[in-house]
């Protein structure tokens, strides 16, 4: 499953470039969620795709609550997903601190299954259109040179840029960002220096869910929403690993590489490849440089 990309256009190669940027932004926005949690707490969150989908479905709930105020509804959904992320850590992942790698991964997998089941129970498995529920439209407009981009895709690209800039400022100039970096580097020492590890971890989960939810919401506004959205979340994971699981900047680079490979192979080789290209890139990276483009090499021994 690939998010809807514009196919017909006057300028084919420019359109390909635009598609790569859009898909790359989607992957980057999702991938930074994996990196945030991994970098701070060394947990791989395989429920990220489901948490992302939860954010998108929350829009449906808030849209009916704040009828006629799309901005408020969106803000409420984003706030709720921030809370959901923190809640997941406090109620569940906190108990898994210091457990086996497999146990922690499987807990997130189980959480993902649970979320998916609950979402289908509440909202059914049918395709939903949050854009209609919010009463917003999705015009597609032409860029210079004839390539086309839909409105919400453009917003998504802008959001990705904004999120990455904000994360950079947060990590390098913010007090809590510094704490998060410290906790990621050496949890024991960080705790000794008075950093509240559980607070930092909960914040990482909140932020990760927030960025994931942003991606989910914007994708749902662009092309509708079904319960198969987590597949895209899983496909964004290779982007995080290619860039290096503990490097936020790496996730951006990895996302562009994975998106580039995916779009080009879909157009020139076989559309069926869509689901598998990110994982081919992942395997290639694991063979050549398992710690990723910008990751630290010691990571391999820490797990």
């Amino acid at each position: 499953m690939t998010p809807d990309l514009q196919l017909v256009s006057d300028n084919f190669s420019l359109q390909l470039a635009v598609n790569i940027v859009v898909l790359g932004s989607i992957y980057a926005l999702i991938a930074c969620g994996y990196v945030l949690i991994y970098r701070v707490s060394r947990v791989l969150n395989l429920a990220h795709g489901e948490l992302m989908m939860l954010g998108a479905y929350l829009v449906l709930a808030t849209a009916s609550m704040f009828n006629g105020h799309p901005a408020i509804a969106l803000a409420a959904a984003i706030l709720l997903s921030l809370l959901a992320g923190g809640l997941v850590y406090i109620s569940l992942m906190r108990k898994m601190t210091g457990e086996m790698v497999l146990a922690a991964i499987l807990t997130t997998v189980a959480l993902g299954i649970l979320i998916r089941g609950v979402i289908v129970l509440i909202w059914s498995a049918q395709q939903q259109y949050p854009a209609q529920a919010l009463g917003v439209v999705n015009p597609s407009f032409a860029l210079f040179g004839g390539a086309r981009i839909s409105f919400w895709s453009a917003v998504l690209v802008a959001t990705t840029i904004a999120v990455y800039s904000a994360l950079f400022v947060f990590f390098y100039f913010g007090r809590w960002g510094m704490r998060m970096r410290a906790a990621g580097q050496n949890p024991l020492l960080a705790a000794q220096r008075g950093i509240n590890l559980h607070g930092v971890y909960a914040l990482a989960w909140s932020l990760s869910t927030l960025t994931g939810a942003l991606a989910g919401i914007l994708m749902a506004l662009d092309s509708g929403l079904t319960s198969s959205m987590p597949v895209i979340g899983l496909k964004a994971f290779p982007a995080a690993l290619v860039g290096g699981l503990d490097s936020v900047a790496g996730a951006l680079a990895g996302a562009l590489i994975v998106a580039g490979a995916e779009v080009l192979l879909i157009y020139y080789v076989d559309p069926l490849l869509s689901d598998v290209v990110p994982f081919l890139v992942l395997i290639a990276m694991l063979v050549v440089r398992p710690w990723g483009l910008f990751g630290t090499r010691e990571e391999l021994d820490r797990v």
């Binding site: 146990a103 189980a110 299954i113």
Partner: protein
């Protein structure tokens, strides 16, 4: 080392043959005999539905046992088990469809596919550990599924491949009871293979490298060889299970082997209890029967009509909850509970913890 379960009194072997025997006491022999009689009489008493359930459990047990070998004993995480089952099933489906190959040909070829794939799945383990290994097996799962889907589409079987039932000496295997015994024997053989592998050199090597690779290497165990061996044996067994699955269902489609199936297999060994073959069997029974239990439970509730459409979602959510509960509350799984009950009666009327030498 193969150690019998804790007993109330000491049991001394006086010869090597006795020491190597799988069944060492009369109680063990008698309980096995009773168990076998129960298993043999089951198909003549049970309904068609229960028979199908038992067949599914046997198929799942083969997969769970092989995953337990790999993850529970050799310590190599695999999230791509469904890919291997798919490989076995698709090998069977393709061979049966393209050259109408008989059963005696598809089974070994499926095992061979498993061996080759196990080698490929195992290669990353030489360099990667823990999470990175899990991710690489996950990626391979998607690649195998893609190849299967590609075949389905290119050959025009977009809904799936129909596999005719296998025939032995001119007799077609279609009867549920016959299938029950075939699968029972297959599961029993897998169990025997696992038990014997684990109490021999390879089993000891796997446990050593699970404990600590560096130390295992210092003991003269070839890490690469035994890691690959674990992957190869595990995945060839799994592929054989996939082959049997294809024949049993009579139908192979890529939808049956999604990521959820991989997760179910991992759930089997987690829920059953890591590092125990009994755990793999208990886990297989639990995971297969669980959705039917949920369905039966839902039937008891009022407003059945309202929930009927959502049974799949309820199953999904309940499965997630059960997995989380086991991971948090009972990391030793069903086997942990079983051993606690055993120890309770063993020590009764006392409440002491078992001695340090007894198996936890």
């Amino acid at each position: 080392m193969f150690r019998p379960p804790p007993r109330a009194s000491g049991y001394l072997s006086t010869g090597y043959a006795e020491d190597l025997a799988l069944l060492r006491t009369r109680t063990e022999r008698v309980s096995l005999a009773v168990f076998l009689i129960l298993l043999t009489s089951f198909p003549f008493l049970a309904s068609t539905f229960a028979l199908d359930l038992a067949c599914q459990v046997f198929l799942a047990s083969i997969g769970a046992l092989s995953l337990m070998l790999l993850t529970g004993y050799a310590g190599q995480i695999s999230l791509g088990h469904a890919g291997l089952i798919a490989a076995g099933a698709f090998t069977t489906g393709i061979l049966a469809r393209e050259i109408s190959a008989p059963f005696w040909l598809t089974l070994p070829v499926s095992a061979l596919t498993g061996i080759v794939l196990g080698f490929i799945f195992g290669l990353p383990s030489l360099r990667l550990r823990g999470l990175y290994l899990a991710v690489s097996t996950l990626a391979l799962h998607f690649i195998v599924i893609y190849l299967g889907g590609e075949y389905e589409t290119k050959r025009g079987f977009s809904t799936g491949i129909v596999v005719d039932p296998p025939s032995f000496a001119g007799v077609k295997l279609t009867d549920g009871r016959a299938w029950y015994f075939v699968l029972l024997v297959a599961a029993a053989v897998s169990l025997l293979i696992c038990i014997n592998l684990l109490r021999s050199r390879s089993g000891r090597a796997w446990r050593a490298l699970h404990g600590r690779e560096t130390v295992a290497e210092a003991f003269g165990i070839s890490i690469a060889r035994y890691k690959l061996l674990a992957f190869v044996i595990s995945s060839s067994m799994t592929s054989v299970a996939g082959c049997l699955f294809a024949y049993y269902r009579g139908f192979v489609s890529i939808e049956a082997f999604d990521l959820f199936l991989s997760i179910q297999y991992v759930a089997m060994i987690i829920i059953g209890g890591m590092g125990s073959l009994l755990g793999a069997l208990l886990g297989a029974v639990f995971v297969i029967v669980f959705p039917y239990l949920i369905e039966a439970f839902l039937r008891l509730l009022p407003n059945v009509q309202k929930l009927a459409g959502d049974i799949f979602a309820v199953n999904y959510a309940a499965f997630g909850v059960v997995m989380i509960l086991f991971l948090i509350l009972e990391p030793l799984g069903l086997v942990g509970i079983w051993r606690r009950i055993q120890n309770y009666f063993l020590l009764w009327p006392f409440k002491y913890k078992p001695l340090a030498g007894a198996r936890k």
